[in-house]
Point group: C2
Chain length 226, copies 2
Amino acid sequence: MSTTAEPDPSDGAQPRGELRADAERNRERILAAARRLYADQGLDVSMACVAREAGVGKATLSRRFATREELINAVFTDRMDAYAATTAEALADPDPWRGFVGFIRSVCAMQAADRGFAAVLAMTFPAAKALEARRAEAYHGFLELISRAKATGNLRADFTAEDLIVLLMANAGVVAATADSAPGAWRRLVGQMLRAYAAPGADLPPMEPSPEPTALYRAMVRLGRT
Amino acid sequence: MSTTAEPDPSDGAQPRGELRADAERNRERILAAARRLYADQGLDVSMACVAREAGVGKATLSRRFATREELINAVFTDRMDAYAATTAEALADPDPWRGFVGFIRSVCAMQAADRGFAAVLAMTFPAAKALEARRAEAYHGFLELISRAKATGNLRADFTAEDLIVLLMANAGVVAATADSAPGAWRRLVGQMLRAYAAPGADLPPMEPSPEPTALYRAMVRLGRT
DNA sequence: AGCAAAGCGGATAGGCCGTTCCACTTCGGT
DNA sequence: ACCGAAGTGGAACGGCCTATCCGCTTTGCT
């Protein structure tokens, strides 16, 4: 009984009925490779690259993940878990405004640490059920967080949930541009956005310093050579 | 004498010594096509696409613009002129703070109107002399604008020129994500950034409304299908 | 009008990507 | 230990891109 009808511990990817041991090992290697490549090159890495990095044939990759979207779903589901967990932590803070500030900073830090995830947070993949379920969970938590933070009077009344999306898109742009050469730039953006979200008189962490001009310039040059 | 030694009215692209009439016509067609494609698809349009859109052979394109960078330089030099002109206008405003606010909004509007230019403003191309000369011109004007706006007490003392670069990168991200489906999203970002730049008590235009949730969602979906 | 040079674009070669097929290998239950 | 099934990766397409070559057309000057 203990092993009968394993209730699909795989948390949500496409219905895959118990892979063979070696296949599962390859699957893991693919995911690890994709995680690495996506993290520091963004989502537009070719499937062929992922296969090469993982040390498997392209056919194997295609068989396991028919489309790039499926792969993304599998790779980022656990990061999306961390995202949802961050919402929960923020809600647990007795001071909702402090929780809100911490949430914004944490999420943007996640984007800075993983270019792929930065992009994922600014997109949606209707077919990726596991991913989207967690996103929705985090979203509902965030709505509650907004409401509580507004009640304290520290979060401006005109703040909306859409503002988070806009921030995620904006920060994704900064991270994509500066990750290599000016890795602190995103902190400045977040610091300023928080200033904009805060009602007059609300407590704010000290403003982050501007990125170094030379570092920022180097980031701009790097962007040039595609 | 009147036609001798035309002093190269071409304003700065690679040294090209008087093209033949038909060649010049083709050059114009290429530039028009590239402008169109870059404007609504961003900079990563293949050279082959540009040639096809322009109705010329790939060889012709290559001959005229050896590298993508040369083409970008030629295409966006006049937009960069407009950018520099915007700085000048802002400096002409008797109220430097109002000039500053107008400048930020105008520049971001330019980004919203042209995805390619949005990217160009967040990058630099050391080899593109014409472009970079104008950028430098605008930059110096902007430094002066900052200084005057700070003197009025309306621009926060901790604002730096680097903040403009960060804003351009952030707005490029928002524009790239939302241009198709939520074309007003960038206004919200800019409104909030201005709030962050403004010293307490400074006059600000009314805050832009959040983008429609459904429009924003559609933008996120579009991003998914690359 | 006629000619040399400038310019054209189709053709070709090489690279990378995604997809599919198939002979071979490995697993795992008996 | 064996054997069927599950899984593998190389090879073979077709598509799209860049770069370069070369025979033909157009231009502009005389």
